[in-house]
């Protein structure tokens, strides 16, 4: 499949402020021509970590324009305290405020553009918020979760094993093939303690019987099951070069494999890419998969996702570019 951006389909973009205090900043990207919003969900892009709504390498702009070029309305916005959105002063934890702001984005898109169902897309913490919102908001019909961090690693002492495994991932995938790393090893400049820990962790992972699943596994599997029952389509999109892929498989366990086999969940691995998709080739491959998966989440032809109803002013506003 060819990258839609290359075809230079003209899309329209509009800067918006929304939320209770009109303090959340975003960009709505519209398809050219008439919007058949009854057939397609609106796509909302959520901040990858603290990078603003443009995304690393401007990838969110590419995704939004490529989706708009094939008929989707897309909103990419900043959570409070990120990018151009104002900071909150209510001490609400990020996990809570981000879900509530995603719901505010849905309400805004419903009120102004008549959107009634949504596909959420996010990288890293944006994937986490997409998943959490999908769990609690029935308007979500699908989510694209890019490098979903299933295991929390905020607590430094939490899991030494996890750190060793991530180090092992680096040694195995990169250092092994790097002349400079071998030079460091033989000249006494390597971190030998970390190296030994990583080798032990990797040996345990490969040869020892599986130990108990991480503490995040049970709620994660339960939520997967719940979303499957609601028929929410999930795509986990992982960089081949990212250690989060192993963690996802481990935490997902048998339920994850079963739902993948049933086609309720898809797991796509982008070959030769890293966590932030830091090359233009990564962008192309990522974009191709996203377009394919979002099209698959959209009911075909004459099936209407939304009840056609006229939202006052929505017709006019959706036609306004910039």
């Amino acid at each position: 499949m060819k990258n839609v951006l290359m075809q230079k389909t003209p899309v329209k973009e509009e800067a918006v402020l929304f939320g209770e205090k009109k303090s959340l900043a975003g960009i709505v990207t519209y398809p050219p021509g008439v919007i058949d919003r009854w057939l397609r969900p609106t796509v909302i892009l959520l901040n990858p970590g603290i990078v603003h709504r443009v995304g690393p390498g401007r990838i969110y702009v590419k995704i939004a324009r490529a989706l708009a070029a094939i008929g989707y309305v897309v909103l990419r916005f900043d959570f409070s305290g990120i990018g151009d959105s104002a900071v909150r002063y209510d001490n609400l934890r990020f996990e809570k405020s981000a879900v509530s702001e995603t719901q505010a984005a849905m309400e805004f898109m419903k009120a102004t553009r008549g959107s009634e169902c949504f596909v959420l897309l996010g990288g890293c913490s944006g994937a986490q918020i997409s998943f959490d919102t999908a769990c609690c908001d029935p308007r979500t019909i699908g989510a694209i979760l890019i490098n979903y961090p299933v295991i929390e690693d905020e607590d430094d002492s939490a899991d030494a094993d996890l750190k060793h495994r991530r180090a092992a991932h680096y040694y195995w995938n990169f250092a092994l093939f790097n002349r400079k790393s071998w030079g460091k090893l033989f000249s006494g400049r390597a971190n030998y303690r970390q190296l030994m820990g990583a080798l032990k962790a990797e040996a345990r992972r490969r040869f020892a019987p599986p130990k108990k699943a991480p503490r995040e596994a049970a709620p994660f599997q339960a939520n997967l099951q719940r979303l499957a029952e609601r028929d929410v389509r999930l795509t986990f999109l992982c960089s081949q070069g990212d250690p989060l892929l192993d963690e996802l498989r481990e935490a997902g366990g048998n339920d994850f494999r079963r739902l993948c086999a049933l086609g309720t969940i898809t797991l796509d691995i982008i070959p030769r890419s890293d966590h932030t998709f830091s090359s233009l080739d990564d962008h192309d491959r990522l974009l191709d998969v996203i377009l394919k998966r979002i099209k698959a989440m959209t009911p075909a032809g004459n099936v209407s996702l939304n009840k056609p109803q006229i939202i006052p002013g929505a017709e006019d506003r959706s036609a306004v570019g910039f």
Partner: protein, 269 residues
Amino acid sequence: MNPVRPILPFYFGSPDKRLFGCFHQPPPGRKRKCAVLICQPVGHEYINSHRALRQLAARLADVGFPVLRFDYYGCGDSSGDAEEGRIPQWLEDVSAAISEIRQRTGLAQLCLVGLRLGGALSTLAGVQCGDVESMVLWDPVVNGKSYFENLLFLQKEMLRFRPRPKGDRKSRGHIDVLGFPVSHFLYNELAKINLLSIAEKPAKNVLLIQSNQAAGDDSLKNHLGRTEARLEYQRLDAPEIWLPTTDGSLLVPGQVLQSVVSWACGAHP
């Protein structure tokens, strides 16, 4: 409790090349007689410094300056693909942003604040239009060729920690620098940038800030000192916020921001 003073995001410029801008309005009754235009860096440097420049804009607005931040064509939220980025276009964008903020605020006096390539573009635009009151150059790119060589070095370093991409970008007319395309047109234009060759002053008052780690020699300071500009030079112990960090954090150098705000307040009481 801190008041939430929203910014105004909007598009401006010609219909076929819409530019994204964020306008920071000062508090009522505290408006100074000078507007500030922030010229951002490009590529990965733009992404990494967005947070700091947004905070700088907010601080400047707090002390009474109307501030406009904007994205060049093919950058950030502005229209255009990244492959289309060109220096003459970006200089036109700076001019369009100057007209926009003057029209929006009704103020003729203008202060340009430029970081990295934004500093180089501010300087060139300032020389071109000749009526800029003041200018802050924060670790500006002095020599485009060295700047590009540094980008290539970073790209090479990055490839040590990730799989090597397979595609042949050169055949498509550009090379990949940390996920941003640099076309051979852009490369040639960058190679011509040399702030040491400007003959005119870029503004009446100039503050040149160089971070300890990034600062090269004193050549730009000496060169600007030979123009008619009133130059103030500050060398600060601040991080190179435009570079990628190992943990993905975005740095905000409070000391630099404070310096810029204090200097601007002094220049435009």
